[in-house]
Structures are given as C-alpha cells and as structure tokens.
Subunit: 238 residues, 2 copies
DNA sequence: AAGTGGTCTAGACCACAAA
DNA sequence: TTGTGGTCTAGACCACTTC
C-alpha cells in the first residue's frame, strides 16, 4: 500500500505513539502539512480523517487538530477482534483445543436461519475451547458456509481461522455484526468449560459478511463471565 | 444542514428505506449520480462513503455500490446509544426513577480517577433506576464534571440527560469509550433492582468526551443479565 | 483581520471487474 | 476494451475561532 494518505497517516501515528507529537497539542495546520508532505490539502485531509476515525486526533473547526492522549485509550479501536488478539493482549499463553471439525450436510433449522441458507448448502462446524491460565474459559462455535470454504484442517482451526480465510483463501471480510447477550449455561458449556460455579455465560454472536455483502460465517463465542471484557469506541459522525 | 453531500446521503437513504432502490441491487455509478445531482464526483463520493459507513451500501471497486439488505440489520448503527432509544425499541413503557441527585464536593478516589479529575473539581452524581414491564432492570450511575454542567434538575434526570447537555447546554459530545464486563451484584444493585435470583450484573462503563477531547462524564449502567442486549456493527476500514 | 478546518469543483490517472 | 470505484491535484469559497 503506497497511498500517499496512508503513508502520511502512518507517519503521524508513529510520531504520536513515540511522543514526538505530545498529547493535547495541536498538529500543524492542514496548509502547513500540505507543504511539509508536498501534496494537496485534500490528501492531507484524508490522512487527518483517518487519524480522527482511529481516535488519534480530534478536529475542531477554526482551531486545529488536537492530539488525543492515547494512554487514556489502551485498547484497540473496536473492530473485528479475533480471539488471538485478545489473548495476546492478556499476556497469558492461550491454548486452543479443537473439539469438533465436521462438514454438515443437513444443517439444522437454527443454523440455516442464522446463516441465511437455503436448500442443500453445506456447513462447516467447528467447536473450539480456549484455555487461559490453565482454565477453559471460552467455547467458540463457528459455522462457515461451505460454498466459500472448500476445505479446512484441524491445524488451521488450532491457529487462526481468520488468517486462513483472508490470506490463503483470499476471502475479503468487509463487515460484521456483533450481538452480546447473557445466557444460562447449557450442558455443552458445562462439559467443555471450567465454569467453577458461575451461573451465566456471556455469548457473543458474530455475523461475518464478505465484500459482496453475503453472510458466510456465524460464530458463537461463549465466555465465562468473570473473564469477559468488551471494549468499544464510538465516534460521533458528521 | 444544507450540505450537498448530506442531502444526497439523505435522499438515497430514503430511497433505500422505502424500497425504491431494492436490496442487493447496484446504485447508479458515481458518474451517473454526478450528473443526476449536478455536482462533482468527489461530492458524490462523500455521500457514498457516508452510506457505506452507516451500513447502507457496500462499495466494490470495478463493480459498483451494492445496496445492503437493511432488514438483516434491524438495529441502530452502534454509537452513543442512550437508554431512551433502547426502551423505545423495546416498545414497552419505560419508567425512570431518580434515586439520587447530588453535587459532590469531595469526590472519592475512584470517581476522581475515572473522571481524571484533580484538586477540588466538583462532580454531579445521579443515580437512576429504569423500570421496564414493571420490573426494575437497570441501575444507572452518572458522574458529570461540574465545571461543564452548572446546574441540573431532577426533572431533567427523569427525562434525557443527553438532550439537556446537547440542546440546552450546547455541549458537543464527540466520542465515547464503552467497556462491558460482568460483575457480582453489589448491595446497592440488590436494593435498587429486582434481581429475582440472578447472580450477575452486566456493567457498561461509558466514558464520554467533549469536542476538545476532555472527559466530562462517566456512567455505569448496570443491567440485569437476562434483559441485556448489546449490538455492534464493525466495518473493516481501508 | 488572519488563520483554521469544512465544502465543493473539474479535471487527471490508476486498479480492478466484467464482457 | 469499457466502465467501475480509488487516489490525487490545485484551486475556490465558506464557517468558525482567535486576536
């Protein structure tokens, strides 16, 4: 990616992260940046808008672009967060156990409805347990529309399914809808997880869409409530 | 707001919502729209980017802009959702009980830390219970930095604090950080809510920032787990 | 009045998809 | 090859903040 505005964005992000541009100070004005980077103002504005969208600056008309104190925001800008990223953040060695990997020829009504399938579409079902600090904390149930995923192995499931879909199959994930609810643990939860007397399960239902707006993955991520944490960053648009 | 790109955005949103432009079809190309609206392509692109960011279309290079089936997404695009909007969606008459409204001269260490206050800043504390279907379901604890809010009444708290801040005080809220965790109920939760034997509380911690990136409100929204539902819409950027 | 960011224009060239 | 969206330019005018 050699886009000019991307390069400018990355440069400024590095300067903010390193402290070269301190928090609560103003960025150079758009006209100054235009000269600095020898480009047009609209290109500078694209870079600055990216910075604003990602929580690095706050633009104020008539004043300038204020650098936000990123130490206040020790979290990734909310997005499509996979388990591996989460575990990395927690600095504990996570372990993934693949409990099931199967190709379902006749998906049941619930899955059909969730994946909006019709007729004889097949579905990959993957059940994984996530272990953190020696305890089984998360139960992940993934359903992938088979028409997009010809094959998948246990090894891939033990690592990152996302990486496989994006890098190897070159599927372009464009957006996802997340729903968070709290449920009673099922028998499955009790058998797969170390519940230790907890009476609730936090369920994250994730609907993942491809570039052409077709739904291809449904995931239920079932967390022990004490280890669950979700962070969201909402920016007012307009 | 008479911005051209806003008008175009609104026009197309209406056309999509009314079904005039059906789901999964393509929008007219940017060049066609440019002619239609007698404007420049960049202005059209601004409107289309707004549509994409708000989940109405999906842009694909070389193809066009696909209209997303909004019936799949029966939710507000995630953002700064206040309680009233939530209750409206649920179509049950909500009732708000104001349990406490006080100006704290010496906020304790926890609040000081959450609101990043120093010295002798004062803080409004507001505690409200939300009743839905005759049951006390949500306990909202709001802390407002008093330097931004000179006065506030019980009546305002019974309605929408947001509306008061935005419309009357003209405070411009620009972004918010949300954190969701599950906790054990406190004695306060037990006394204010109809817990009915539930063993967990879903806590939404909300940090609200003004246009100049200063933190001015901290809110804890404590929900009975069975009635809690959070929806998020994550769009892959770039 | 001067400087800031917000909107808008009319062009240009490029990368990608479909026919 | 044609048409699509993605990037980029060099200007213009406007709304707002600060002095």
């Amino acid at each position: 990616m050699t886009n000019k505005y991307q390069i400018i964005f990355n440069t400024i992000v590095d300067q903010i992260k390193s402290g070269e541009i301190p928090p609560n100070s103003l960025l150079p004005s758009e006209n100054e940046l235009k000269e600095q980077y020898d480009t047009s103002r609209e290109t500078i504005r694209k870079a600055l808008n990216l910075l604003a969208q990602n929580g690095y600056i706050q633009k104020v008309r008539g004043k300038g672009s204020i650098v936000i104190d990123i130490n206040k925001f020790d979290f990734p800008v909310s997005g499509l967060v996979s388990f591996k990223e989460l575990a990395d953040k927690m600095e504990k060695k996570p372990r993934t156990i693949v409990n099931e990997l199967s190709l379902i020829f006749k998906p049941d009504a619930y899955i059909k409805q969730q994946l909006q399938l019709s007729g004889k579409d097949q579905v990959w079902k993957i059940v994984r347990t996530r272990e953190i600090g020696g305890k089984k904390i998360i139960l992940d149930k993934d359903y992938l529309a088979a028409k997009y995923v010809p094959s998948i192995t246990e090894e891939i499931c033990a690592n990152s399914i996302y990486a496989y879909l994006e890098n190897d199959l070159n599927l372009k994930i464009s957006f996802a809808k997340k729903e968070i609810v709290v449920e009673e643990p099922t028998a499955e939860d009790r058998s797969f997880l170390d519940l230790e007397g907890f009476h609730n399960i936090v369920v994250i239902k994730n609907y993942v869409y491809l570039e052409d707006a077709s739904l291809f993955q449904y995931t239920e991520s079932r967390h022990r409530p004490d280890k669950f944490r979700f962070v969201d960053f909402a920016r007012r648009t307009q």
